[in-house]
């Protein structure tokens, strides 16, 4: 296996590492905080993060430093940081590991981000199902509070930053940043129309930054070792650093693997995840969570960074790599994902609310051998009328599995429909000939 340095998973890979404050401090934890608060001006911290090239690890991949830079500089009232820990993208399970195994790494990142953007309150919006994760975080916050890393007058610098854990309650859409804010305000998690963006009108209409868990966990390392060090890792200049890729599906060793961006899918799947689980070859894979279009084995040498995956017609998204072996029904797989999107559509925009149910019905019909050739046109047509016509990116995500499988495996749809015609059509001669 190729050797490379782990950044985010390094601590937890050490035998006996518990993620306690004492353990974290032993590995140099909270040094970044000590060296930053009151010593580096907040705008300079933002500049460092911008220079590092760090991009959001939640899905959209927006440059973190640039996002911070959008906050109004002269605004006097409160600002907020929200840590997006609503990890719900099917295929993704990295934030759970980062929070449960090394919570202080995340917390240090949160306090650093608070300092950089001038927020005195941060909320960790964690998905409701992760009860254990929320308990671990709360305990870690308690430890950090006692040690003076969180709360009022941090390390005697006069800087305040309080951190609270807020559990969601089972809605995928709350990972969308404005839906997250609505949910945090105690409402239904319906995404907001943008603009205005959260940078100016976020939580309680105040300037707000929403960052993913993995994004924030990178911050202490960027501060400690410098933005130049970080910017040289991975696939510079646009995809710097490592990613924790979550491999699932038909592989020998599914799980979380931290690798520098720019490694190929082939290396990730065949070297790290041990290759296919049986002698069946790979049929398809999804490179970045359920929202990312399917790719084929012809794309195995695509580099796992933002540009190359996008150029191949998919997206790096949340880093959830799902592998399917030969013999998996592609139409069935697309249906499973479509059922997810149908279940999770928040219902705000008609194209997504109505269209997602029509897509599920059409796919079920085809799979039940009751499809017609026109259904292929119906599917494409529905997809076109959902993507780009909704308030948030959910609409585009929901049609990705269908559009991409129609593109690469159209024949499978056609075969199922042909079976339907053979099985179900009673062909009658035109009347009058008998």
């Amino acid at each position: 296996m190729p050797q490379h340095e782990l950044i985010l998973l390094k601590n937890m890979m050490q035998p006996g590492y518990t993620g306690s404050l004492a353990d974290y401090e032993k590995t140099g934890g909270y040094q970044a905080l000590r060296n930053t608060l009151g010593k580096i001006a907040p705008p300079d911290v933002t500049a460092m993060v911008r220079k590092s090239g760090l991009r959001g690890r939640g899905g959209a991949g927006f440059p973190t430093g640039v996002k911070w830079g959008f906050l109004p500089k002269d605004y006097q009232g409160p600002r907020y940081l929200c840590c997006n820990a609503d990890e719900s993208e099917p295929g993704t399970f990295k934030d759970r590991q980062l929070m449960e195994r090394d919570p202080h790494q995340v917390l240090e990142g949160i306090v650093l981000a608070c300092y950089a953007i001038g927020a005195e309150t941060a909320y960790i919006y964690i998905r409701g199902e992760m009860v254990l994760g929320s308990k671990i975080l709360e305990q870690a916050i308690g430890e950090a509070r006692v040690a003076g890393y969180i709360g009022k007058n941090i390390l005697g610098t006069g800087i305040n930053a309080d951190v609270w854990v807020h559990r969601g309650a089972g809605a995928y859409i709350c990972g969308e940043e404005t839906a997250l804010l609505e949910s945090l305000e105690g409402k239904r998690g319906l995404p907001r129309v943008k603009p205005p963006f959260p940078a100016t009108h976020g939580l309680y209409n105040k300037p707000t930054v929403v960052n993913n868990v993995e994004t924030l966990a990178n911050l202490p390392h960027i501060i400690n070792r410098g933005p130049e060090w970080f910017a040289a890792i991975g696939s510079p200049p646009k995809s710097t650093g490592t990613r924790v890729f979550c491999v699932s599906g038909h592989v020998k060793r599914p799980g979380n693997y931290e690798i520098p961006m720019g490694m190929t899918v082939r290396e990730l799947v065949y070297e790290h995840a041990g290759g296919m689980r049986s002698d069946k070859p790979m049929k398809a894979f999804i490179p970045g969570g359920a929202s990312a279009p399917f790719l084929t084995p012809a794309h195995l040498d695509v580099k796992l960074d933002f540009e190359h995956v996008a150029a191949a017609g998919s997206m790096l998204g949340s880093g959830g790599v799902t592998v399917m072996e030969e013999g998996t029904s592609i139409v069935w797989a697309a249906l499973r994902l479509m059922e997810f999107f149908y279940h999770e559509s928040c219902g705000k925009c008609s194209p997504c609310r109505e269209g997602s149910s029509w897509l599920v019905q059409t796919l079920r019909r085809i799979l039940a051998r009751r499809g017609r050739m026109e259904d292929l046109e119906t599917l494409s047509d529905l997809c076109k009328n959902i993507a780009g016509r909704t308030v948030c990116a959910f609409g585009d995500a929901a049609v990705a599995p269908i559009q991409s499988t129609l593109k690469h495996w159209r024949q499978e749809y056609v075969d199922l429909i042909n079976e339907a015609e053979v099985a179900n059509l009673i062909r009658l001669e035109p009347a009058g000939r008998h």
Binding site: T92, Q97, A169, G170, E185, G186, G189, S248, A290, M324
Partner: protein, 176 residues
């Protein structure tokens, strides 16, 4: 009344937010913990506490799948059926549970012990197939493991097979 029983906790929750309504979901969790589901009177009380109208509480609670509006079994089994779990056998797990407990998704056993739900992705795709029972995750399920979990729950009310702090693969696996 929740306020009499959990006064201190409620006060602590309210202190975290500058706007009261933000405490709605946390308070609904308190109510659900108390009865196993959120009762109508709890919704009224929470509305009163947060200076909301009861419909405002109801519109929020009905958006989120984790709140129960009717009594549930003592152990609420939720099996993930999303693609990543389905690829490695979650449908079989659901069939096992249906056969062993003789209930369909959405139903509870007659003794009130188990309820079964089939749900979407719970972020444990690398250790699929998986299920959540009340607050705990159970991963890498096999029929044998499932039998042991159900037996544990019946006898001692919890199971040592539940997941601890998550990491997969374990360091040893990575070193090979």
């Amino acid at each position: 009344m929740l306020k009499d029983k959990y006064g201190k906790e409620i006060e602590e929750i309210l202190s975290r937010y500058p706007v009261k309504r933000s405490a709605l979901i946390p308070l609904l969790y308190v109510a659900q913990r108390d009865q196993g589901y959120v009762t109508e009177s709890a919704m009224h009380e929470i509305a009163h506490l947060l200076k909301l109208t009861p419909p405002q509480v109801y519109e929020t609670i009905t958006f989120y799948t984790m709140f129960n509006l009717k009594p549930m079994g003592k152990f609420h089994i939720q099996v993930c059926k999303s693609l990543m779990c389905a690829l490695v056998g979650s449908d079989t797990v659901i069939e096992w549970i249906k056969a062993k407990l003789r209930i369909a998704p959405g139903e509870s056993t007659a003794d009130g012990l188990f309820s079964l739900s089939v749900v979407e992705c719970l972020a444990a795709c690398g250790t699929a197939p998986m299920m959540q029972i009340n607050d705990d995750y159970y991963e890498q399920l096999t029929e044998n493991k499932l039998d042991r979990i159900l037996a544990d729950l019946r006898s001692i009310g919890t199971s040592p097979l539940k997941s601890g702090p998550f990491m997969w693969p374990e360091p040893l696996n990575v070193e090979r």
